[in-house]
Every structure is written in structure tokens, then in C-alpha cells.
């Protein structure tokens, strides 16, 4: 197991090399990714970058969790900050 982590809303999430943000959050038992602009919860859904349901803010940039590889030190937030 590698000790690499990224920051998810203040929590340190470990990941394996090559893993997507969605896979690492899933392994950490995190199912809901926080609110979008309408206040609806975002979450992993299609896994292929199509549905836009798993949008997150990665170092300030909006990205799909399912196609974005996790990197050490990333700051990952919900689309619309803390609820």
C-alpha cells in the first residue's frame, strides 16, 4: 500500500498509483461528493465521463471524478464548497 494521499474536504484520502479520484473516494467509503450549484448531491454514476454526476473541484478546476487520476497533494472539494 502506498502512503500517497490527496485532500478531500479536509480529510486525507489514500490512493493507489493510477487510481481515479472516484475509485479512491469509493475505497474510503465516500459515496456522496457534496452539493452542486442547485444543492443536489453529486455522486459516482456512469464511470465513463458521460453523465457529469461526479463533478468535483480539483485544485479549483471542475473535473469528473471518474476520469481524473488521483495525484498526491491534490486539493479536492465539492462543486459548491462546504454545505
Amino acid at each position: 500500500m502506498s502512503a500517497q494521499t490527496f485532500d478531500w474536504r479536509g480529510r486525507s484520502i489514500p490512493f493507489r498509483a493510477g487510481e481515479s479520484l472516484a475509485a479512491a473516494l469509493e475505497a474510503a467509503g465516500i459515496l456522496t461528493f457534496g452539493p452542486d450549484a442547485l444543492g443536489q448531491e453529486t455522486r459516482y454514476f456512469c464511470g465513463i465521463g458521460a453523465c457529469q454526476c461526479c463533478l468535483l473541484r480539483v485544485d479549483g478546476v471542475v473535473r469528473e471524478a471518474c476520469i481524473t487520476p488521483a495525484r498526491a497533494g491534490m486539493k479536492v472539494e465539492a462543486l459548491e464548497g462546504q454545505p
Binding site: A23, Q40, E41, G47, C53, R63
Partner: protein, 445 residues
């Protein structure tokens, strides 16, 4: 760097076989792939150090052959790159997710091979966290080599549910049950017709024997009527063919009601263009027939592009393999036909979400459709924000169009394209990235 003659969008079976075919004829071809690995959803590669999950022998062998041929052709791949669209001047725009910049290319031809998306019928609660598509659950297993955690319910229709259940079982967490709208065991005609498609039948038999061995309930003639939150868990209401209702409490629910082309926002096919590249579609994004057909279709489209570029305008002959795959898919659809006709979308309660991106409900659509002046699909989008969100209508346009037709049966039947229209960007992109677009030549200044 040499500017490619042909670019292929998508590194799945169709894209890889098309690119290999083109490279063999001496043209410079490049693949644009959104992920760091190739294979598409069907052949999603595991991360480093992880064993690939169990897969039937047929698809496994096909991937090995395809990957080998592709590697031998030494075709460059732009990874972490998302196709944005073809602009008015015929330039192809690619968002490089590593550099956060948009790159412009001016190829002679573009092959779109963006695969399929899953069809998901709306049910109350389908938008909640913990609910994913079954394909989404499967690619996650392929990537991580791990089964999803907790109690999982698979629901919808089709052979994919059985494959996912068998793969979950192999990884140590079989699903609580498979809820299947059809009853393939009672479909005698299509069952016999399946005998003509031995490879598919062998694949299905392998997964099915796993289901029986592990005693995973396969509830046929049943559908998930509603999903509710129950504390941290999800409670699904299942309705059987005989009208009886059962409730199960689980941690995750994965839905799948078939596949359809992922052709949203893509440019039109064009075989001759004065200003821009030729544009062709290959594989599931042209016609959703699955990986086997997609690979054959990729070869066909690859050859067609070579024919056109080399001035031999004879259209390549349609591969017989594709015709066979079409027959197989028709048979499968008959085999998994719902026991009860799918309840009309009109029976869904008002609060059911139809369009997740914009949070628009069945009730919102009813109110729009009850106006004295009938709205077209386009107007439903503009006035009601259906299919206007970030997913470009991939998961709601068809359902919205179907419900519109149910509410106003005498109005002209709307199609999903009436709602979505056809325009780029294919994916949301920041204005900053777009205005900073660079062409290949100025990139290294």
C-alpha cells in the same frame, strides 16, 4: 511533431481497430483518449499491480489480439485528452487535461468512436448517492480489482447484470439479488435463435453458472419501482410480475436498462467537406451493438477513410460481422423483453427526477405539457431546462421525449435530438481554456 492525417476520438475497440487499419495503409493517425489507459469501458484496464477481474475467454482473447495489433502499429495516443468539438473553421479542438489547455488540430479526417452510454429509466430516487449504473459499477471493479462494498442490488434488464453479478461474486461480494424486468428463461423462440450465436451463449452460460453456484437470486419479471433513503442505507421497492411487492434494504443499487450510442453533441458525419475534415462514426456511437461489432465496425470505417484519402471513392463493403452482431443484439433484446410492458413513464409520481443535471421532475414536464400551446422538444429545453445541463441530455433526453409523447399523444412525436440539438462543446469546458486554445505549431514556442 507530424500533424496527423487522421485522428480517432476514443481508445476503445472501435477506435483502436480503426486506427490500426489506417496506420497499416501508411497514414499518420493519432488516438485521443480521455483516460490514462486504453480499452474503453469494455476493456477498462486495471491500475498498476492489480489483477484483471474475471472475464469470459472470448472477450479476453479478442482484447489481447486487438491490443497486440495496436501496439505493433506504434500509433501515438494523447491521453487525458477530451474531444471538445469541431469549430466553424473545421479545426478539431481537444482539451488536454494535463496542461489545462485546448489544442487545435487540422486533420484530413476524424473518426468518432465515443462508444455507448447506458439507458437508465427514471424511478423515484434514482438520482441519490449510492445509486450508479451497472456499467459504472463494473468499470470500477475492472479499474480497482475490488468488489463494491456493502449490500449491492443490481436491477434493470439484460445480460450485463449477470456478468457484473458473476464478477462481484468472484471478488468476494456477490450482489443481494439481480432484479430483471424480462424472463429470458421463458422466451423459447429467441432462446433457440441464440443457439446461432455460440460465442455469446458460451459467455452467458459461464456467468449464469456462477450465479447458480453462488445462489444469487435472479428475480425475473420484476422491476425496481422506487428507491428511498433509509438512514445511511437505500430501500428499494420491488414489484413482481404477479403484482406482489417486496422491499429490500441495501447500501448500493446499480441500474442498467440497455445501451445506446453516446452520440450527444457530436458533429454530423460528412464524407466530403471543403472547409473541414471528413467526419465518420465507428462502433457503438454509430450503432450500439457491443464490443464485437464495434471492433469490426472500426476496421470497416478505417478502411473507408483510407479509400477516401487515397482517392479510391468506392465505399468499403459493410462487414458481414456487423450484420451478425445486429441479429444477435435483436435476439438478445427479444430474450430479455420485459414480462410486463414497462409501466408508462406517465405513472411516475410528480417528484421523480427526469433531468438530474437541472433537477427537473416529471411534474415539471407535466406542467409544461399541459399548456394550451403545445411546446416542441426545443421549447421544452429552452423553457423548462430539460436536457440543458452538463450531461447534454445523455441520461434524460430520451426519457423526456418519451414522456412528452405519452402526455400529448396527438402532438408530433419528439425525438431526443429535438431536445438536445447538436452543438459543441461535447463536454463542459472553461472559457479560459477555450480562449487560450493553441494550434499544434505554436505550442512549443
Amino acid at each position: 511533431m507530424i500533424e496527423p492525417n487522421v485522428i480517432v476520438i476514443g481508445g476503445g475497440p472501435a477506435g483502436l481497430s480503426a486506427a490500426t487499419e489506417i496506420a497499416r495503409s501508411g497514414y499518420v493517425v493519432e488516438i485521443i483518449e480521455q483516460r490514462e489507459s486504453l480499452g474503453g469501458a469494455i476493456h477498462r484496464q486495471p491500475i498498476e499491480g492489480v489483477h484483471p477481474i474475471h472475464q469470459a475467454a472470448g472477450p479476453k482473447a479478442r482484447w489481447q489480439a486487438l491490443a497486440q495489433a495496436f501496439a505493433a502499429a506504434r500509433i501515438p495516443v494523447r491521453h487525458a485528452s477530451v474531444f471538445v468539438g469541431v469549430d466553424g473553421d473545421g479545426r478539431v479542438l481537444i482539451e488536454n487535461r494535463r496542461t489545462e489547455r485546448v489544442e487545435q488540430l487540422a486533420p484530413k479526417a476524424v473518426i468518432l468512436a465515443t462508444g455507448a452510454v447506458e439507458k437508465i429509466y427514471p424511478r423515484p430516487g434514482w438520482q441519490m448517492a449510492g445509486v450508479s449504473t451497472a456499467g459504472g459499477l463494473q468499470v470500477m471493479m475492472k479499474e480497482t480489482g475490488l468488489a463494491p462494498q456493502g449490500r449491492v442490488l443490481l436491477a434493470g434488464s439484460g445480460p450485463l447484470l449477470i456478468a457484473v453479478a458473476a464478477q462481484m461474486a468472484r471478488l468476494g461480494n456477490p450482489p443481494v439479488a439481480i432484479v430483471e424486468a424480462g424472463d429470458p428463461m421463458r422466451q423459447i423462440g429467441p432462446g433457440f435463435a441464440m443457439l446461432g450465436h455460440a460465442a455469446l451463449l458460451r459467455e452467458a452460460a459461464g456467468y449464469l453458472s456462477e450465479i447458480y453456484l453462488r445462489r444469487i437470486p435472479w428475480m425475473r419479471g420484476t422491476h425496481v419501482e422506487a428507491i428511498e433513503k433509509e438512514g445511511e442505507s437505500l430501500r428499494a421497492t420491488l414489484r413482481r410480475h404477479d403484482g406482489s411487492v417486496e422491499r429490500v434494504t441495501v447500501d448500493r443499487i446499480s441500474l442498467h436498462d440497455g445501451i445506446r450510442p453516446n452520440d450527444f453533441g457530436l458533429p454530423k458525419e460528412t464524407m466530403e467537406s471543403m472547409t473541414g475534415p471528413l467526419i465518420l462514426r465507428a462502433g457503438d456511437c454509430r450503432e450500439a451493438l457491443g464490443a464485437f461489432a464495434a471492433e469490426a465496425d472500426g476496421r470497416r470505417v478505417g478502411r473507408a477513410v483510407v479509400d477516401i484519402l487515397s482517392g479510391n471513392r468506392d465505399c468499403a463493403e459493410l462487414d458481414r460481422t456487423i450484420e451478425r452482431a445486429r441479429l444477435a443484439q435483436t435476439t438478445l433484446a427479444a430474450l430479455f423483453a420485459p414480462v410486463d410492458p414497462r409501466p408508462p413513464l406517465g405513472q411516475l409520481p410528480d417528484e421523480t427526477i427526469l433531468c438530474r443535471c437541472e433537477g427537473k421532475t416529471v411534474g415539471d414536464l407535466r406542467r409544461l405539457c399541459d399548456r394550451a400551446d403545445r411546446l416542441t422538444g426545443r421549447e421544452i429545453k429552452h423553457n423548462g431546462r430539460f436536457a440543458m445541463g452538463a450531461c447534454q441530455g445523455r441520461f434524460c433526453a430520451a426519457n423526456t421525449a418519451a414522456l412528452m409523447a405519452e402526455i400529448n399523444p396527438d402532438a408530433p412525436t419528439p425525438s431526443s435530438e429535438d431536445l438536445t440539438g447538436r452543438r459543441w462543446p461535447v463536454r463542459p469546458i472553461s472559457i479560459a481554456a477555450l480562449t487560450g486554445a493553441t494550434s499544434q505549431n505554436t505550442e512549443n514556442e
